[in-house]
Amino acid sequence: MVDLSVKIGDITLQNPITPASGAFSWEYNDVIDLNRLGGLVAKTICREPRLGNPTPRMAETEAGIIQSIGLPGKGIEYFVDHIVPEYAKFTPPLIVSVNSDNIADFAALAEELSIPDVDVIEANISCPTRNQTGGNFAMHEDYTRDCIKAIRAKTNKPLWVKLSPNAGDIVSIAKAAEDAGADCLVIANTFLSLKIRTDNFRPALGNKFGGLVSPALKPIVLRMVYQCAKAVKIPIIGIGGVTKAEDVVEYMLAGASAVGIGYAGFRNPTALITIIDDLEAWCNERGIKKVSELIGAVKDDDMELDPLVAASHGV
């Protein structure tokens, strides 16, 4: 039987399947056994209560959805008093996602959330509908470094950093986060997008722009995970378009130690459990003893460079 556990720094996940922040809450215990997940990831929390963005907050697109929620929430006090205890009822580690548009406040929030029931601080520096200096620090190497340094100085909890797929040079940003003290990179958040309705000529979302979420995007995020895994030493969690066990394998081959899942859990609320079961079966069928063997195991060192030679092989 395969050992599905993976280590993210000092944290051990019983399997590499975690929900993605914002696509999950303890309320999913209504339908799946949360104790089976690799980790529990809370919705990004800000200091003050926030209503979020105008509705509609979601629109279907060609192949997926765009959404713009706007980080609504009841603020950090309510979170610590009422939401952390809900998660504390379950055994997997609790990862708490935080955001602020101000670096000092970001660090202070991380400090205030460094309480016993919280296992990991995830710095969401990549909310796509915020701007570069307004909380979406992951668009820029220097902002990323400054922000993560400030947070690192204020917390001893493991610090995971969620990057943006909208950045042009994600490798430099990944390195900046690592230099600044990140313990893990979470790659990636959603793709800044727009849909205009052709019936009334208006943007489909109340907030105009939204983040695109689609299994179609997996090859882009996979490329980013692969590039970053070659450039940094800290572990990576791949997020984007995972809908089946093979997608977990593909992310791990590219260098990820675990994955996060959003969309698939909306589509099939039992998906995360099925993916854990399928991954286990996939490994067992192939005699894989530890799923962690797959991390970075892509075979890319002997690729055919001569097109004349490559094209003389069969299909």
Binding site: R57, T61, I65, A245, P269, T270, T274, I288
Partner: protein, 291 residues
């Protein structure tokens, strides 16, 4: 490590078919594969789908909804589930029914389902209608697809010995719905139409005032129209009649996690947002700001 190419199917899931053993029996909500028993047109716009489902899917009540994974009408995928109110639960037959308007891509795909096909549904979700012990007679006022949501109230009321007057508002006689279902549970129905102008607010107001005068209005229930909601709110306030309204909003998760399905409510003068999927879809009528 030896390996061969055996891709899993996309979107595998552990949805339960009728008769399956539930590996996680303490769950409140399930993902089910219903078998289509029938899927017929009720009128030109609406269809009624009857599904044979796992027993756990029958543990639902009026006003709750399921989240339906609609097949594609056109070869390209339908990416999000569609929320639908429970129309009827037939525990004996093991059937769950939905009444729906086939309009957009998802519901058009749903309309193509044939007897024997499988249909993936998640639920039951949300907080449905509640009846207070003292109520003897309630008034149900719905329009269009709102009637699909209100119809099971007749069953709930009948089970609790509560009388029902249902006012069914529709564009024309062809699209009046659920009359028979309401009546089968002993409800009195009144149909009001756009074609003969009986559906105008002033006339509906007259009917409601009449029912109030008759003491047949211990509570108000509505769904499907902002105009009718406003009317019931006004009369409810005036006569101190409690009420419930079932709301709709675009959804993603259905579980309360994503905060997509927000609607505005005003409580003690303060406006706030609530989640239709988990805080509702049935809300205190006086708190709703628009339908």
């Amino acid at each position: 490590m030896t390996m061969s190419f055996e891709p899993c199917e996309k979107y595998t899931n552990s949805a339960l078919r009728a008769g399956d053993v539930d590996p996680y029996p303490q769950r409140l909500v399930g993902e089910f594969l219903g078998a289509v028993v029938s899927n017929d047109w009720v009128n030109k716009e609406y269809k009624l789908i009857v599904l044979a489902v796992h027993a756990r899917a029958l543990e639902a009540y009026a006003g709750q909804f399921f989240h339906l994974l609609c097949p594609s009408p056109d070869g390209a995928e339908v990416w999000m589930r569609r929320p639908m109110s429970i129309y009827r639960i037939d525990k004996k037959a093991g059937h769950l029914e939905f009444l729906y308007k086939a309009e957009g891509r998802g519901t058009r795909g749903m309309a193509m389902l044939r007897a024997g096909d499988e249909f993936n549904i998640a639920g039951p979700l949300g907080k449905g209608f509640t009846l207070q012990p003292g109520w003897k007679h309630i008034v149900v006022l719905g329009r269009g697809v709102g009637l699909a949501t209100l119809a099971p109230l007749s069953q709930l009321a009948a089970d609790n010995g509560v009388g029902v007057t249902a006012i069914l508002s529709a564009r024309n006689p062809d699209v009046v719905m659920s009359k028979a279902l309401f009546e089968s549970y002993g409800a009195r129905t009144i149909t009001v139409l756009d074609t003969d102008k009986t559906s105008e607010v002033s006339n509906v107001e007259k009917i409601l005032e009449g029912l109030i005068a008759e003491k047949k209005a211990d509570a108000f229930f509505t769904c499907g129209s902002s105009r009718l909601l406003a009317l019931m709110q006004r009369l409810g306030k005036k006569h101190n009649i409690p009420g419930q309204v079932a709301m709709e909003q675009i959804m993603v998760c259905g579980f309360g996690a994503c905060y997509v399905c927000m609607r505005t409510f005003e409580i003690d003068g303060v406006k706030t947002l609530k989640r239709v999927c988990r805080d509702g879809p049935v809300f205190n009528m006086q708190e709703a700001v628009g339908w």
